[in-house]
Amino acid sequence: MNLLKRFSATDVSLSGIFIAGFLLLAVTSGGTLLTGQSLQSFFTYLAIPILIGLAQMVVLSIGQMNLAVGAMGGAATAIMAVAMTEGGLPIWLALLVGFLSATAMGAVNGALVVMTNLNGFIITLGTMTILLGVQYSLVRSFTIDSYSEALKGFGRLGLGPIPYIFLIAILTAAVLAFFFTRSAPGRRILATGGNDAAARLSGISNKRSVFLAHTISGMLLGVAAIVTISSLGGINRSIGGDWLLLSFAAPIIGGVLMSGGTVAIYGTVMAAGVIRLVDIARAEYSLDPSVVSFTIGIVVLSTVTLSEWRRRRSEVLRQGRKVLE
């Protein structure tokens, strides 16, 4: 009972939708979805939506947004690829350099937001443009695929049909959940997002929370970049180009408020799973990719409308009860 209480209504309904959708696809595809190969690719390409959804969620939790998710991930991936091919660095060092530079990009976003006191939206719009330039100038119009086969091989390794990179994503989500529920800095971030004036009065540095949230977002994108480079056969300039909607769709469908103060890690992971199912369904029925954009757009719109309506109704109910008392 206690365990059940931890899951919100959104979590439960998302899990239901995910399981039902998965079974439906498994049946209509005649069972091909359940073969090793399909299952493996299902989980491999689920890792990235989870990670970028979490990266956006952390910034949403302070009531801001990060428009640069795609550009940061793309630039970090490009840095890793170039470090390995032109720089001749060993794999682990190149991955570390990419991860650290993504973290640094997040830190710069945070520092700029704190220093200029501007909304994260407009700052990250600026850094997005700059990082796209960096990514393009590193990769140019080529596909870099001459890096080590060992790294590409790692993307295919796994425990049975479950690839290691999916486990990395799940592990990251678990660490993040621990951070937000158990650690003091995580709690402080949520306090800042919920009510910054109240947080300030209770002695929390809002500036530190904002900086930290943007930096963590960068770290998560660094992990996303590692997953990307090891699951794809080559790196080109289009990487990260379609991450923006995904990054918002997963947490918003998962039940995170745009106004800040909440996180929903399980919900974000599940929503990413549902989005992945839409993608699979598109491939299965050979629909146009535009259908996916359209569906996800409509789903996000109806989710936010519905949650706002529920919030208003509960407020009205609460007020009604007060009047009765």
């Binding site: 700029l112 939206f121 600026g126 146009d288 359209f294 757009g297 409509i298 706002e308």
Partner: protein, 358 residues
């Protein structure tokens, strides 16, 4: 007491106006300086046919798109779907020309109407759901992206409407040199396409400056609660601002279609960043309540001047992106620091006043 208050209010508004206009003076100075630098470093830059004429033509399009963003910025809202609304407008214009064989003006009208319709729907969703305009327009952007590419893929052969109605060529290549009045012709640098941009600038400017509706929009943007309490129909104004935004985005899309000579799903792809750059560089506040209509044109001109200048110098797309991003961040930080200084001065003034009363 009230006399003091009025004078304080007057002073405050006066300095604000000065702040706004001084930003535009700086902008104009930067534009002229950059123009001279680009001209000095590369003689090809002064070519009318290849550089200046297209530059002003593109500026006209971007200025209109900037105005589309400005309309919602006046409320403190954002329109992330501005590019896709332009694509929808261009699509319906293209549909009219190719399928209905419509004349030029009818397609333009259809583009404006569809844009306005999409904008109105967006505004209604925002008002009815109470959700942040950012999320609604982001989701709208993706829904429209899917819709537009689906329509082009299914109903056209080459993923574009390519029929050119009569007069489109003249409009694209025409300049003021074609407009002769009593034997005197205009300069060939200024394209005919600037006329719709000037019309849009004039009418949006007049709306915000002289009409009650415009002032109500600004009041809503600077303080929603206060506007509500003083009897402004806030919800209706929000829908109106988004409708206007859609209308102008549609106009921008159709005009880009005229410039390109065809209507495809790619129209509007490049609109998002300039749509913010133009009004914000011009002095429009992101938080709502203050707009700079003429500044939007200057902001668009500066953005495209830098782009064109770097292209003529042979600098690639990469460096271009980096420069534009840096300019945006720089302009915003400078604006913010100025504003902070300004509020600090205001605060110390109020403190002095309070002490005097005591």
């Amino acid at each position: 007491m009230s006399g003091v208050d009025r004078r304080v209010g007057g002073d405050w508004q006066h300095s604000l106006r000065k702040l706004g206009s001084s930003q535009q003076v700086i902008l104009l100075g930067t534009i002229i300086a950059l123009f001279i630098i680009f001209n000095a470093t590369n003689s090809a830059f002064s070519s009318v046919d290849f550089v200046l004429f297209p530059l002003i033509r593109d500026t006209s399009v971007i200025a209109i798109v900037g105005l589309a963003q400005l309309c919602v910025l006046s409320l403190g809202h954002l329109n992330l779907a501005v590019g896709r609304m332009a694509a929808v407008g261009a699509m319906s214009a293209g549909f009219c020309y190719e399928v209905l064989q419509a004349p030029l003006w009818l397609g333009l009208l259809a583009g404006l109407a569809t844009g306005a319709l999409i904008g109105a729907i967006t505004g209604l969703i925002i008002v009815a759901s109470g959700v942040n305009s950012f999320v609604v327009t982001l989701a709208m952007d993706f829904a429209l992206l899917g819709f537009v590419s689906f329509i082009y893929m299914t109903f056209t052969d080459a993923s574009a409407y390519t029929v050119q109605p009569e007069g489109m060529d003249q409009l694209r290549q025409g300049s003021f040199a074609d407009l002769c009045f009593a034997g005197i012709c205009g300069p060939p640098v200024i394209p005919l396409m600037i006329i719709p941009a000037l019309l849009a600038l004039g009418s949006v400017g007049c709306m915000f400056k002289y009409s009650r509706t415009g002032r109500e929009l600004l009041a809503t943007g600077s303080n929603l609660k206060a506007a509500q309490l003083s009897g402004i129909p806030v919800d209706r104004r929000i829908v109106l601002a988004h409708t206007l935004s859609g209308l102008l985005a549609g106009l921008g899309g159709v005009m880009l279609g005229f410039v390109n000579g065809s209507f495809s799903a790619a129209i509007g792809d490049e609109f998002l960043l300039p749509s913010f750059l133009a009004p914000v560089l011009g002095g429009t506040a992101l938080t709502g309540g203050a707009v700079a209509v003429f500044g939007t044109f200057l902001g668009a001109l500066l953005t495209l001047l830098i782009r064109q200048g770097l292209v003529v110098q042979g600098i690639g797309l990469e460096a271009l992106n980096i420069t534009l991003g840096l300019i945006l961040l720089f302009a915003l930080s400078v604006g913010q620091i100025r504003k902070r200084k300004f509020t600090m001065r205001k605060r110390s003034f109020t403190m002095l006043k309070r002490r005097a009363i005591r």
